[in-house]
């Protein structure tokens, strides 16, 4: 599903260049649940953003679902991202002025899904995540755990094959964190590939593989 060959991310600095990522070679197969770990500044989030196609300023080769990302123009990368990738953020990043329902609807509307279909998909997801009762609430009316639940639901709503999660439990207390990780485990079991960045060894145990980074270099 994902193949990275000699991927490097370099920042030019005054005294020379800084390697945020150096010679990353990585294969991730469909259905895997991979955890990326490492100390702060090791390049975890940078790698996640490259995988998520947010970052295009890097060197090397990246193949996603058989498509050579490094050869795609901006528009095609964007289309690829929309089709395959969902994001979960540490700070949930729900849109404050939209209700739970509307937050879930947003990714669908960006994919030109017809209104009727959107309604049906959102209702399914609300039901699946057990948050029907919260659909008219605003993010500020939810607990952190509930907000992240919505964040995960939103990441999944467009049926991506890959979920990228950046410290998904970083802002949650341990019980809530475990619930989210269990949810990821369940989604992974249903066939969604998941890549998470985490500091937590416990969270990493929910995954099938752990990749460790230090100073931009993959340790194993």
């Amino acid at each position: 599903m994902i193949q990275l060959n000699h991927v490097e991310k370099v920042y030019p600095l005054k005294g020379g260049v800084f390697y945020a990522l150096r010679n990353i070679n990585l294969t991730i197969n469909e259905g895997e649940f991979v955890s990326i770990m490492g100390p702060s500044g090791s390049g975890k989030s940078t790698l996640l953003h490259i995988l998520g196609l947010h970052d295009s300023a890097w060197n090397g080769e990246y193949t996603l679902h058989g498509q050579a990302v490094h050869q795609l123009d901006k528009k095609k990368r964007f289309d690829l991202q929309k089709k395959h990738i969902g994001f979960v953020f540490q700070s949930y990043h729900l849109l404050d002025d939209l209700t739970v329902y509307e937050n879930l609807e947003i990714p669908l509307s960006y994919r030109d899904v017809a209104k009727k279909e959107r309604e049906s998909v959102v209702c399914d997801v609300l039901d699946k995540f057990g948050i029907v009762a919260k659909k008219d609430l605003y993010p500020s009316q939810l607990s952190g755990g509930q907000q992240q639940l919505v964040g995960v639901a939103r990441a999944l709503i467009a049926k991506p094959s890959l979920i990228l999660a950046d410290e998904p439990t970083g802002n949650l207390h341990s019980d809530q964190g475990r619930e989210i990780m269990s949810l990821f485990k369940k989604l992974n079991a249903e066939g969604t590939t998941i890549i998470q960045v985490t500091h937590s060894e416990e969270n990493a145990t929910f995954g099938s593989r752990t990749i460790r980074l230090a100073d931009g270099v993959m340790l194993g």
Partner: protein, 807 residues
Amino acid sequence: MLTDLRFALRSLLKSPGFALVAVLTLALCIGANSAIFSVVNAILLKPYPWPDSDRLVYVYNSYPQMGLPNAGVSIPDYLDRRAGVRAFADAAMFNTMSFNLASDAEPERIVGLRTTPSLFTTLQTGAALGRVFNDSEAEPGHDHVIVLSHTLWKNRFGANRAIIGTTIRLNTETYTVVGVMPDGFYFPSPQNQAWVPFAFTAAQKSDHERGNEYSSMIARLKPGATPAGAQADLDLIQARNAERLVDEREFYKTSGFGGRLNGFLEQNVAGIRGMLWLVQAGVAAALLIGCANVASLLLARAVARERELAIRAALGAGRAWLMRLMLAESLLLFLAGGSAGLLVAWWGVDGLGSLGLSTLPRAYGVQLDFTVFAFTLFCALLTGLGFGALPAWSASRGDAAAALKEAGTRGSAGKRTSFVRAALVVGEIALAVMLLSTAGLLVRSFEKLQQENPGFSPGGVITAQLDLPDAKYDRDEKRTAFADAALSRLRALPGVSAAGLTDVLPFTGNNSSGSYSSPDIQVPAGAPTPHGQQRVVDPGYFHAMGFTLLRGRMFTDADAPGAQRVVIIDRLLADRYWPGQDPIGKQITRNDPKPWTIVGVVAPVKFQSLEEDLKKETLYYPYAQAPGNRIILTVRTTGDPTLLAAAVREAVHSADPEQPIYDVKTMQQRMDNVSQHRRAPMLLISLFSGVALLLAVLGVYGVLAFSVAQRTTEFGVRLALGATAGDIAGLVLRQGSRLVLIGVLTGLAGYLALSQIIGRLLYGVAATDPLTLAIAPVVLAIAAFAACLIPVRRATRVSPMVALRAE
């Protein structure tokens, strides 16, 4: 408080860019308000320099049914009213005179006033040196005494205190100086530099003098007396006269004749009051817009300082303390803006003069005095407290814990203030739309006015006034000889195609009118006696001014003193009394039974202004057959008429070296001057609406730019969720469009609510003219759209990676 101000000053100095922009914006807006207020104050608000000047009234005759609502008064009218109106404490009668002050060099013309001695008691002002007139000096033969203005005494006579009792030569006659008025005294305007007694002969005091209404009258109301009480006595006097003067009774009845009164200030400024208040309102709107922008900047600053304020709160600062800190900053800014505004006003007052406001009545008093200074301080304090309170209130009610936790992300203050900032921008747009709509209509109104045909061709015509002294030019032959000599010299000048003279020139504010009759006119019972404007002109006048002859002929040199008396009428007279008939050969009589035969019909011309409704007929008599001492020369040239000014002076000087001329202006300048009461406000409102547009657009930009900065993370999330750049641009544009739409609709509603008032100030265009009203929102929408582009561009360039990393 001093500590607060010190902290505030330090804080502002740390953001010099912000402080500079805010102070400059306020300086421009407050300064423009102060400059305009200096005009409004001088013209509309400041009392005249005479004690209790609000009790002075202007008394005049009125012939409403003859189309003459405002005429002068005759001597018997004045005498009747001074003695018979119980509400008058005193009254005076006067008329303007032109004095040729003898000099070794060029003869100097000064404007003076011939007045009854009661003028000074009516004004309750005495002389600073010597005395004013006594009643015995209002007797013929004892009236060659003069009171000088302080300015004339200082400039012309070197402030010589020994001048009292000495004589000076005026109009070739000798006058004894009896007094000098105090510094700052004037009546009726500072142009008047001398006063001589108005001595009535026995004949002038008789009923025969009624109808000779060449003088003005003022009166002082007794304390507690009302204009209504005075009016009742004026009506009573008129009723008694109608009873007594049997021959006049029918005329009084058909003309609606009567005495009227009006406040002295009202009489002088009523015509420009509406326009001046409109300009003041316009510049006040610009100030509000400027203040809203500064408040918006302060709100943004409050958001940026949320963390700092939260730390202060966490350290124990109470809400009141925080409010005081923020308010101190606002006050410092607004006071600095007000102080710099005084400099702008000082420059602006000069600028207003060049825009033409100096030609308005009472504009001589325009200056930056204590009242204007107090107004500026008031503006600065009021706007500082009013608009500073919003950011202060907003900043002081923040949640310290949340602010500290959010640490740089979209804080609670950002959300809280966004509505207030949006409301401020909507208000700015609404005010800008109102100003733009008003400016558009004033421009169209002025355009319409300029398209009006005055009935003559003003291009290439230069004019000059002169007053022949009675003593020297005491016979008709002398007057016509002078006129012939001056005109023949003018006609001989290279480039001069025609030269003529008249006693009343269009667009000078002067008029002369009177009743006439004709054996060929049958006045229906109950209808008023024919009454028309009277002009005396020479044969060259019609050619010099470019009048249009419709029938018959113009005057010629053959229309001499001994020849048949002839008159030229305008089409209005012909159409009124002889519709469908040829008026040539019909006869007119006035003053004496000897008739004037109509030899020509000319097209009617406008005399007072371009907006004048041509209703009143005009009769033109040949100068050779009715010569007077008041002459206005009119010279048409094929070149630039202003280059002819010196030659005109020289020609008059050749005809009489002692005769000064004054008021040398082209006809176009006169027409422009008469339009100044429309032109200057139009230019000012246009200027203010341009500033308002700019400020409102900056406001839209500010709100959107701030919003985009606040929403960076949101845009990043949306992009991460699949939004395109177009989706993000749409979000920002929709936000901007919503503000503009609400603002435009509010502005149009506000304008329509005031349209009736504005409509009264327009000419030839409706206050609700749809085309003009459509232009303002379109202009604003285009400008606002342009202002949206930078924030839109910034929003679409948000990188989800960078935005999300901000967490």
